[in-house]
Amino acid sequence: MSLDTAPSLDAVGESVSPRRRAMTKLFSATPFYLAGVLLLMAIAFSVLRPDAFPTPANFRNILTDVSVLLVMAVGMTYVMVAGGFDLSIGSVLVFSGVMAAKTMGAVGGEGWSPVFAGLVVALISGIVWGLFNGFCVTRLRVPALITTLGTTGAALGIARLITDGNDVRTVPLALIKFSVDEWLGLPALVWISAVVTIAGGLHLAYTRFGRHTYIVGSNAEAARRAGINVDRHLVRLYALSGLLAGLAGMMSLTRFSTTTIAGHAQDSLQVITGVVLGGVSLFGGVGTIVGTTVGMFISSVLNNGLIVVDVKPFWQEVAIGFILIIAVYIDQRRRNRRDRG
């Protein structure tokens, strides 16, 4: 029902023009200052190696490097905005890749049909692990950290049982060709990753599903009382994260033509780093995919740039460590000043 209008001292909330409001939002949102940090880094590397860093080929390198992890970071952003946590994505990536490779091997042939079968199996594998995570977190009330740590071990263990620990390389020629193909000068994987990120960004920011994700992360009890099925929503988010890890598994398989079983132990941590760097809180309720994207690129540009300017490996570790802290500090400082000012 509608309320009638009582006398009021001021207009409510409308004292600030929409334009000014939009500007404030833009400048106050995390990604803005962090994107500044990213730009500064890129400028620094360009000055140090003008012939090598700011080249189209190198930008393509950076984009390709970030593409697989970014897909998983989109899923992680959803889960963490809702106050969850998913350590298992690296293992799920491996598991899905193994299942896809095995499927493609079983289907046989070098065309698109085994690829398609592999993709479907990879996505389903990812979803199944995601559903399992969601089930444990919501029904069994096992903390997300323990649940996803458990599935990290279990998924990797099963992948190794299936393969006896050996990488699977039954990848059809069609897929190998696809990995080399470029559209508009960029590898197909980069485009896939871009589509997922943009779709995820719009979906999280503008739809009801996205809004519910923020509410669940901000105050799960309030969400429940407002009639949101919190458990179901969380299960969906974990499933989404699993799905995207499955897709990432297929992408990784495409990129390397082999399952790289041993090489993803750090993936989850890398993704979580990018996501938190981008302004998502461990406590949930805040964060955006734009922020996540900037966060992931900070890591990636840093890794790339330090090698291009030829910093020694041990120095790189030290530099990355401190730069991460400094980047977030700059971001925090600017934002605090605004809050005060």
């Binding site: 390198n61 697989v68 390397f256 790339n304 291009v308 570790e317």
Partner: protein
């Protein structure tokens, strides 16, 4: 440019992973040779054993336009694509340790045959045990080609001794403490165990500690692969019994030499091999063995 003088040319070595004694010694050997020949040299390596990370490094190194790349690949198939890009950019690629599955990419590779090395370890173990007993291996992670090849060779080596039973591989994620735990637990729960093969240095170090904690030092023989200062120490005081030592220092030197030959247009053999030695307490101080012991602190 002028093929003759290599004064301004640069070689970058991409390690399989940073902080590993073997790769570090390769870098030292290369540094020494490069200094002697007036070649610029640097090295890179990811902090984890990870194909994606190594790809990232290869990409960035290619972008920085060196004149040759030396690389210890993390995967013989997955690294084909990125190294093909290097080749396409006109950068010669020199393999250290291993070739790719596509033999057309590398100009040359210097192999220390891991299966061969593993075999040496297995044979030595057989000798130490007089052909009788039960042995296990401690490896980092399944699916790492070099480690798997060493274990494979080890199995072939002990196969010559029908009295020896292979109990299987346990994995330690490269953590010394995990290796120690596995060694001590197996040593106390399986009295038959009398030999452990440490596939990498951390595993050998862990095995030595674990056996000591189980109170079975001397009863359980330890054969390691690669060295580090602590392991050499263990060899001296009898906590370890034999080590298969590669010649990474020489591989590094060889790599730099190969690069210069390629620049000059001279022919290099596709495969060059690198020797091994088996170090024991008795031969440790001989000049031959000392030449092999890894020197990680480059001059």
């Amino acid at each position: 440019d002028d093929g003759g003088s290599s004064g301004s040319k640069k070689v970058v070595y991409i390690q399989g992973m940073s902080g590993i004694p073997f790769y570090q010694t390769v870098a030292c050997g290369a540094t020494e040779q490069a200094k002697k020949d007036g070649v610029k040299f640097s090295y890179q390596g990811a902090s984890e054993w990870d194909v994606a990370k190594q790809t990232q490094i290869v990409d960035a190194v290619v972008a920085s336009k060196p004149d040759a790349i030396m690389i210890s690949v993390t995967d013989t198939k997955a690294m084909i694509a990125p190294l093909t890009k290097a080749k396409a950019a006109g950068i010669p690629v020199i393999g250290i340790d291993d070739n790719l599955q596509d033999p057309s990419v590398m100009n040359t590779y210097i192999q220390s045959d891991s299966i061969e090395g593993g075999k040496l370890a297995g044979k030595k173990m057989g000798e130490l045990l007089n052909g009788q007993g039960a042995v296990m291996a401690l490896n980092n992670e399944p699916g790492t080609p070099i480690g798997d090849a060493r274990v494979e060779g080890f199995k072939q080596g002990i196969a010559e001794f029908p009295g020896i039973k292979f109990l299987g591989v346990q994995y330690t994620q490269n953590a010394t403490a995990k290796a120690a735990n596995l060694a001590s637990t197996t040593a106390t729960s399986n009295k038959a165990l009398n030999g452990i093969f440490g596939v990498t240095t951390n595993n050998t170090e862990g095995a030595v500690t674990g056996i000591r904690e189980a109170g079975r030092t001397g009863q359980i023989k330890v054969v390691g692969y690669d060295t580090s200062d602590p392991i050499v120490e263990a060899l001296k005081n009898g906590a370890a019994d034999a080590l298969v030592v590669q010649y990474p220092f020489g591989e590094g030197k060889q790599g730099i030499q190969a690069a210069q030959k390629i620049w000059k247009g001279e022919s290099v053999p596709k495969k060059q091999s690198s020797p091994f030695v088996v170090a024991t307490k008795d031969n440790l101080n001989t000049a031959e063995v000392q030449e092999y012991i890894y020197k990680m602190t480059c001059s």
